[in-house]
């Protein structure tokens, strides 16, 4: 409650605006009860200062801050981006140039030009012959078995038999393949027939078979490229499709060569704004 002991504190708090509504009412009631204190209340209220709004701080713009050198940071990031891009480009060019030497004689691409289209892979023929022989060792004389007949008879089993052989050829070297064909044949023969029959069978094969069997001999005779060329022939696809694949391979090879040639005559420049950072002459 407001009394003569504490009314002054109430008045000062009233001037400070710290009194609650009930306290203000109590103070006013007390002042009404003692009117001689009203002047004192007005004096305390008059001590409240009013802000001088005409007093202004000039040149506020000098206090404002701008983004702290963000442009330079962005420029640095951009520089690193350009540098990274240039590094990737150089890496790619190096790889292309290195591959360019190796791509000079692509394996598949040369198959069309150097290998006759009419030649059949001896491996397939041998395996076919082997299959036919294993099937008809006892019923049909070996001398009467031709390559065409064996193909016709083994036609249904051709895919099954040829696939492993092809995979083996693709994985292993041609020399090993030849060894397999030579070594495995006696294995089949020795199970059922004397070795002489096998030799006779091989010698009595028609010319077509002899030609095909002579092909691996050629491949063994130090021509790895020709051996590689036969990889395309080993694929179980038609001649026309092989030719198509070869054409596509040739076209790709020429395109790669063109790109490589173009790159050889090109300079790579890294510029930031008008400033050249570095030049790479290829």
């Amino acid at each position: 409650m407001v009394n003569m002991e504490n009314y002054e504190e109430y008045m000062m708090m009233y001037a400070d605006g710290e009194l609650k509504e009930a306290e203000i009412k109590a103070l006013m009631a007390f002042v009404d009860a003692y009117p001689e204190l009203r002047k004192e209340l007005e004096a305390y209220t008059a001590t409240k200062l009013l802000s001088d709004t005409t007093l202004l701080y000039t040149n506020k713009e000098a206090l404002l801050k701008t983004p702290p050198a963000s442009g330079r940071n962005i420029g640095l990031r951009t520089w690193w981006m350009y540098a990274a891009a240039a590094a990737v480009l150089l890496f790619a060019i190096t790889i292309i140039r290195q591959n360019g030497d190796a791509i000079d004689s692509p394996v598949i691409a040369n198959t069309q030009t150097e290998q006759p289209a009419s030649t059949q892979t001896p491996v397939i023929n041998n395996t076919i012959q082997k299959d036919s022989n294993t099937e008809e060792l006892h019923s049909i004389p070996a001398s009467s078995v031709t390559n065409e007949n064996s193909i016709a008879k083994a036609k249904s089993k051709k895919q099954k038999v040829n696939k492993p052989a092809i995979i083996e050829k693709l994985i292993e070297e041609p020399r090993v393949v030849k060894e397999e064909t030579i070594v495995q044949q006696p294995v089949y023969k020795t199970e059922n027939e004397p070795v002489q029959e096998v030799i006779a069978q091989q010698t009595t094969q028609p010319n077509g078979i002899e030609e095909t069997t002579s092909a691996p001999v050629e491949t063994i005779n130090n021509e790895p490229q020709k051996q590689k060329k036969r990889l395309l022939d080993l694929l179980p696809i038609n001649k026309n499709k092989k030719e198509g694949v070869s054409m596509i391979a040739n076209a790709l090879t020429k395109r790669i060569e063109n790109v490589t040639d173009n790159l050889k005559d090109t300079d790579v420049k890294l510029k930031i704004g008008n400033k050249e950072i570095f030049i790479v002459k290829l």
Partner: protein
């Protein structure tokens, strides 16, 4: 606090801070230095200051600098250099001129408390946070200042 918050604080509180510093230091040139230093400190500490606390932070720095400045220089030219001239030029009322003159009777701390209370409308607790005083101290110091001001007003009124 981000850059935009800081710049908004400049636009919003620079004038009030300048008025507060003017009354505390009694000198516009010193007050300008106080404002510049206060905003510079705010900018340096912007990561630790929330935007809502920027005003209190500014007044806290200004209060410390003004009090220090006043204590160092012991300025007594407050009335003559700032208040009387401005009052005359701007045609302030007699009561306001008397009050400005009464402020010179207060010490720097009491003056700052009155200014924070009347100019900025801070409550006792907020003034305590700015000045580093507790709420009771603020209340006591403020009441002493009010009594000085009231007595001055009454005495002048009697003279007039």
């Amino acid at each position: 606090m981000e850059l935009n918050d800081y710049n908004n604080s400049v636009k919003e509180w620079a004038d009030a801070l300048f008025r507060f510093a003017c009354k505390c230091t009694g000198n516009e040139e010193d007050a300008r230095d106080v404002v510049q230093n206060s905003f510079e400190v705010l900018w340096q500490k912007r990561e630790q200051v929330a935007p809502a606390k920027a005003k209190a932070f500014l007044f806290q720095v200004a209060y410390n600098q003004s009090v220090d400045n006043y204590r160092k220089q012991r300025r007594v030219s407050y009335k003559e250099t700032v208040d009387d001239n401005r009052s005359i030029l701007q045609g302030q009322s007699d009561l306001k001129r008397v009050l400005e003159r009464a402020l010179t009777k207060l010490d720097e701390q009491a003056r700052a408390l009155v200014l924070l209370k009347d100019y900025e409308g801070y409550n006792y607790e907020e003034i305590g946070q700015i000045t580093g005083l507790n709420e009771s101290q603020v209340k006591v110091y403020l009441h002493r200042a009010r009594k000085v001001l009231k007595d001055y007003l009454v005495s002048v009124e009697h003279v007039i």
